[in-house]
Symmetry: C2
């Protein structure tokens, strides 16, 4: 049995006249007769009653007409859905995330993406950078976000934004009294840094900046993630250095201060994906990232 048989039967059942149906189908009447005979033989069920005026449906024919229409529309829908999937408008995108990127860039990128691709299911997986790379290679995720590039031949790295660093400090701390602070002040107080894993990481970046300025920071605590670090700062266990996007976190007793003497006090936020993957969904998501980049750069200029 063929989809053609279904199409022919639907036409005959709708016209209740094989000759008219054959005209509608642009085939000859005898051929339509034979095709419907074939269908009935194959099912071993009579679907049409032949009358002098035309044909009429048997009870089984009525049911089969329902089913045939159903299958036809499912077929059309299926093709439509496949086409949308091929354009990246339907499907699933698995994303690896880590740390403070979730606070600023990722939600905005996701919003852009969802506006243009509402039927793509986005699944976020929190995982370390090493896990992200492994997951990319195994295609468990299609794109990952992180702060420090880790070069790999098969992995592409795309810079999203370069964020200024801020001092995160308890409002009772002496440094909170200044509107902006000198980066050199970091030499004088114990610092809370993060994360512990996924080297090189954000903590390494801060230590590198200190070393460039000629001092070695005193690290009071090295904690697993930014949120834990912030909590320690709020609790008075030290000061911390955070990317600008962390300022979204407005905790009571916590203030953020810019550095007035260090233009290089920045950190990158990037995404990684497999060079060889050319899925339309990923392309669309990378386009959303570019949109975000352009909007962000425009804001900075303003």
């Amino acid at each position: 049995m063929d989809l053609r048989h279904l199409k022919y039967f639907i036409a005959a059942a709708e016209e209740l006249n094989i000759g008219r149906a054959s005209q509608r189908l642009y085939i000859s009447q005898p051929h339509l007769t034979r095709q419907i005979q074939q269908l009935e033989e194959e099912l071993n069920i009579q679907l049409l009653l032949r009358t002098p005026k035309g044909v009429e449906l048997t009870p089984a024919g009525k049911i089969f007409l329902d089913e045939a229409r159903n299958i036809r529309s499912l077929m059309e829908q299926g093709i439509e859905r496949t086409k949308r999937a091929s354009q990246g408008k339907l499907g699933r995108l698995d994303i690896g995330i880590l740390g403070t990127g979730i606070l600023h860039a990722i939600p905005q990128i996701l919003r852009h993406f969802r506006d243009t691709h509402p039927d793509v299911k986005v699944v976020l997986h929190t995982m370390s950078k090493a896990d992200q790379i492994e997951a990319l290679r195994q295609k468990r995720i299609s794109i990952g976000f992180h702060r420090m590039p880790l070069l790999n031949v098969d992995i592409d790295n795309l810079l999203i934004i370069n964020e200024r660093l801020y001092l995160a400090v308890n409002e009772d701390h002496i440094l909170s009294r200044q509107e902006s602070v000198s980066f050199m002040e970091l030499a004088n107080y114990p610092i809370v840094l993060f994360p512990t894993e996924a080297r090189p990481n954000f903590a390494d970046r801060v230590i590198e900046l200190c070393r460039n300025k000629g001092f070695v920071p005193e690290i009071s605590q090295l904690v697993g993630d930014a949120f834990t670090g912030i909590a320690l700062v709020v609790g008075g266990f030290g000061i911390s250095v955070v990317p600008e996007s962390t300022r979204t976190l407005n905790l009571p007793g916590l203030v953020y201060r810019p550095f007035h003497d260090c233009n290089s006090a920045t950190v990158d936020f990037s995404c990684i994906y497999q060079k060889s993957e050319h899925s339309a969904i990923l392309e669309a998501f990378l386009a959303a990232i570019h949109t975000f980049k352009q909007q962000h750069e425009a804001q900075v200029i303003v």
Copy 2:
């Protein structure tokens, strides 16, 4: 595009290897290659990525695999449903009913039928005998129930049961004091009869019986249906004659009494259907009627 293409694609997508899939399908590998190429060309979408180890699914291919499986199972279900419809096990049966038949025979017949054909939707239409015949001809119903045969060349009449008649009388009435009464007593009291329409009808049958006994009954009221007649008896407006099945109606203040001197005091309950209709559902329903008849006759003998 064809169902064959779907079958082939499903096999290739499941095996992730065109050669193995072709073996599973008992066709040659080159032919499967070409068929899948055709499918992709027709959709204008790449569904499979060719790798040295075999093939893998593109995102669109994953969606199309879902859709194809869906269509395939719907196809199988559709054929199955059509087969059941052709055996009269799926579909719809429209039945015309009238009067007191609904009290005894019809529910039991329906129960038998529903046991063996649970997926046939039964629709009851209350309509007069003349309407039933018209509806049968227009195929708005497939079978009708009534009490008095009305011969028509194109309509078959099947006797279901022959019921004894009972006197329906108010418990305060003098006739209620006897366990059984004489049919001749009907000559002495005003009688409520029914129905008014669909001649010849049950009222005509009662009048005919009286005439056979040599008297003309005094008809106090001729009402539209049995239920109205019974209500009048309860209200003390007269006595009535009813088929045995009406005894199912146990109203307070109402008693039924047999006739001890009139073996012919019976009425038929029959069904009518079109001679030319040979639908499997109707055949199955007629079979249920035969089952009911046999059970009923067995009960009468016991």
